[in-house]
């Protein structure tokens, strides 16, 4: 064992920040990270054992127990749930001969749940040893597992359904068109151009990109970093999957521009573990850029402009999409959000000034430098210039990726995706807004309904409360547990949701949800906690009748007492058939 780990350590140059990569590689050999290997790592990397275990137990793609040669991660997002997740799960359990969350007896298969894997347009989907399979049916599952037992892998192919309305980002791309323009521009001019375009961060928060770069460039520290956040964990979004497979060059060019603008020497792409199948493709793109002298030393002959990009893989955690948590993860620790201030532009990766931007933001920057800030500003609305990539999924005829101008109305949106008798629209994923589909005049923009890209359509046939419950559970599962309100508060919310669904809730419970969310969301540490009550609160605002029809007038006395749950072990003993 030591021999193999020695090789792995050599590959990563005994770099402490690469602990996650090292653990991933160990896992390839042993299906999990054994205790002995940790002891060895601890002495070799001079990191204490507790710190290693901190990291290991945090990510759900890392295992500390034997985890199966073939690890299957089943997508449990709301979209998967409405597309027949239950049958798929049963099919997997039956064919693998193991239950969810367990490993089959012969150690061949491990079946795990995971949040959205960025395949909502092809739900239900699963990851098999990091490779995606979409549009699953029970028959397909049986065939895949049967083949895997004989060592035959299914065909892993991801299709992207792209619909372009306003082609700003998704137009023809010629490598180098954008970066070559910096020959005639100073770093300051690049920053000004980005500032002029009015571009706002595409991750969801919408911080002005130009301002962020300005702040970072103003730092005295010489060593700086550029980080591309390719950890789109919001259920229902998959735009980065398409961007990194079809427009990777554009994104990388945006990063090169970023490094030029702030004076950084090194860049990272933090690629989410769910997209590890894009790793080789991205690496080959980087090689091409290096060959064309768009990366490396003295880029384009500009003296002392040295920049290179490295791809780092994540290991599965929604919270890491938050920029400071991402930096923690990049340094090889638990992906927990940092306390702010200081902000990443002051002290980011390894304490040095860092800009963290979304995949889409970098792509937009490349276009802005290519065609000008004024040109970009000509699209969209005053507060939200330009276009937005939307990931559309759910009950519509044309799920896929759309590029639209900001300011699109909900009515036009629903017509565009050909929604089937829509009831509700979830704008911006679970942390966004649950909207009544009849509010057709509302607009997709930072002024009205901001979104990081996820758009889920739910038709009138769906049980909206079950969907909201899925969202609430998502937050319970994905909370990092670092701060109290999000860790404990989400469970309180889940409990309330269960009361409503079981018909035991009273009118007073609805008021409680509103009141308690005023405690949980403002006091939370990061964006996840601050938005975790959104699905409940916004759906209550949009569909008050739905909730009212489910609750009783008065609180019943015996509510917390669940007779079935309390007598479960007894009934199992007497082999009660309803158990």
């Amino acid at each position: 064992m030591i021999e193999i780990i020695k090789l792995i350590l050599e590959k990563y140059g005994k770099d402490k920040t690469r602990i996650i990569d090292i653990m991933r590689d160990i896992q390839v050999y042993y299906t999990f990270v054994p205790e002995q290997s940790l002891n060895y790592l601890s002495t070799q990397l001079s990191v204490s054992l507790p710190e290693l275990k901190d990291t290991l137990t945090y990510y759900h793609f890392l295992h500390d127990k034997p985890a199966g040669t073939y690890k299957v991660y089943l997508d449990t997002s709301a979209i998967a749930e409405i597309s027949g997740l239950k049958e798929i799960q049963k099919a997997f359990e039956k064919s693998m001969r193991c239950k969810m969350g367990m490993v089959s007896k012969d150690g061949t298969f491990g079946l795990y749940k995971t949040s959205c894997i960025g395949m909502s347009d092809q739900a239900p989907a699963a990851l098999i040893n990091g490779h995606p399979v979409g549009r699953l049916t029970p028959q397909k599952v049986f065939k895949i597992i049967k083949d895997l037992r004989r060592g035959i892998h299914p065909k892993y192919k991801v299709s992207h359904n792209i619909f372009v309305k306003t082609p700003l980002i998704l137009s023809d791309y010629k490598r180098g068109d954008s970066v070559r323009r910096i020959k005639h521009l100073t770093p300051e001019q690049v920053r000004e151009e980005v500032g002029l375009s009015g571009l706002r961060g595409r991750g969801g928060a919408g911080f002005a990109t130009g301002k962020k770069w300005m702040l970072c460039a103003g730092q005295k520290e010489k060593i700086k970093f550029v980080v591309c956040n390719a950890d789109e964990g919001e259920p229902g979004t998959f735009k980065d999957r398409m961007m990194l497979s079809h427009y990777a060059g554009l994104v990388l060019e945006g990063m090169i521009l970023g490094s030029y603008a702030i004076g950084a020497q090194k860049g990272f792409i933090y690629l989410r573990a769910e997209y590890q199948y894009l790793y080789n493709h991205l690496n080959s793109e980087l090689e091409i850029l290096r060959k064309e002298n768009l990366l490396g030393k003295d880029i384009l002959g500009i003296e002392e402009f040295d920049f290179d990009i490295e791809i780092r893989l994540g290991a599965g955690a929604y919270v890491v999409g938050e920029e400071t948590a991402l930096l923690e993860s990049l340094e090889g620790r638990r992906g927990e959000p940092r306390v702010r201030p200081p902000f990443p532009v002051e002290q980011g990766y390894l304490g040095k000034p860092t800009i963290v931007n979304n995949v889409e933001t970098f792509a937009a920057v490349a276009r802005i430098i290519e065609k000008g800030g004024e040109w970009y500003r000509g699209y969209g609305t005053s507060e939200s210039p330009g276009t937005k990539l939307l990931s559309v999924s759910g009950d519509c005829k044309k799920p896929g990726i759309y590029e639209v101008e900001w300011g699109l109305s909900i009515g036009d949106f629903l017509d565009m995706v050909e929604a089937r008798s829509p009831l509700a629209l979830q704008v911006g994923g679970p942390s966004g807004v649950c909207l009544d589909a009849r509010q057709r005049h509302r607009t997709i923009s930072f002024e009205d309904l901001p979104t990081g890209g996820s758009m889920m359509v739910f038709s009138k046939q769906r049980n909206l409360l079950e969907i909201i419950k899925n969202f609430v559970q998502f937050f319970v599962n994905e909370s990092c547990g670092c701060c109290l309100p999000c860790r404990a508060g989400n469970i309180v919310m889940e409990e309330q949701m269960n009361y409503i669904l079981s018909g035991h809730a009273a009118m007073i419970d609805l008021d409680r949800i509103k009141e308690w969310s005023q405690i949980i969301s403002p006091s939370s540490r990061c964006g996840l906690g601050q938005t975790c009550t959104n699905p409940l609160i916004t759906s209550m605002e949009s569909f008050p009748e739905l909730y009212k029809s489910k609750v009783q007038e008065h609180e019943s006395l015996y509510r917390p007492f669940k007779v079935n749950e309390k007598t479960k072990s007894y009934r199992r003993m007497v082999r009660d058939e309803f158990c």
Partner: protein
């Protein structure tokens, strides 16, 4: 060294620029309730969120703030009092806190905050989580029922070699503090006492000690937490 003026609940105070807000407030007789924070801790943990205050209509935790010119802050408002009380209640329902049998009773910050914020019963349902008690280490007992996951032991405690001995296992609601038993066994007696004092609640206990102080001589027996500051302020 430059001084700045800031306003806390209408009172203007002057302080050295860039200092920690909680320390500054304390020196001026204003108590901001805290749990995971302690003086001179370096980078603060920001895990308990009890010190949440309001600045420019935004909720922020006071422990991360450095004083700046012209800050206008609200600390003691009914809204914030309710929020803090709610957070303390969440801590009580998350673990299994039975004060009368706890060795730390009277010295426990969580209990003291409960009294101070006038919490009688929790508005949330108690979860009665089944948590184990770890007693295998030679010198300490780890009572997970009382642990509030504040990160003080995991991030602010190091052994004589300067290495961490506690770590977090899992995430979210499955989060638990675990220890490197071999290292814990090597700790000196002074270090163990330091560890016990560091824990804000009664989760980490020195083996063979138990109840060693009579009622009346414990830290919060006579006055609610923070009241000594306020009395000083009035006089």
């Amino acid at each position: 060294m430059s001084f700045v003026d800031l306003t806390i609940d209408g009172a203007t105070i002057s302080a050295e620029k860039g200092r920690n807000l909680i320390d500054v407030a304390k020196e001026h007789g204003i108590y901001i309730p805290t749990l995971c924070y302690f003086k001179d801790m370096g980078t603060c943990l920001g895990t308990c969120r009890i010190c949440t205050i309001k600045w420019k209509r935004h909720f922020v935790s006071a422990c991360v703030l450095k004083v700046e010119e012209g800050m206008i802050l609200s600390v003691h408002t009914p809204e914030l009092a309710n929020l803090r009380k709610g957070l303390v209640e969440l801590m009580f329902v998350e673990g299994n806190h039975f004060c009368p049998s706890c060795e730390k009773s009277g010295d426990c910050i969580l209990q003291a905050l409960g009294y101070r914020l006038k919490m009688f019963v929790s508005r949330f349902h108690y979860r009665f989580n089944n948590r184990p008690i770890q007693f295998n280490a030679k010198k300490i007992i780890f009572e997970h029922n009382r642990c509030v996951l504040c990160k003080r032991c995991t991030h602010k405690f190091v052994d004589d070699e300067g290495k961490r001995v506690f770590y977090f296992k899992g995430k979210g609601s499955h989060l638990q503090v675990q220890m490197d038993e071999q290292r814990v066994n090597l700790l000196s007696d002074e270090k163990v006492s330091e560890l016990e004092r560091l824990c804000p609640v009664g989760a980490i206990l020195k083996k063979g000690k138990g109840f060693d102080r009579p009622y009346g001589s414990r830290a919060y027996d006579h006055h609610p937490i923070g009241s000594e500051l306020e009395e000083q302020n009035e006089s």
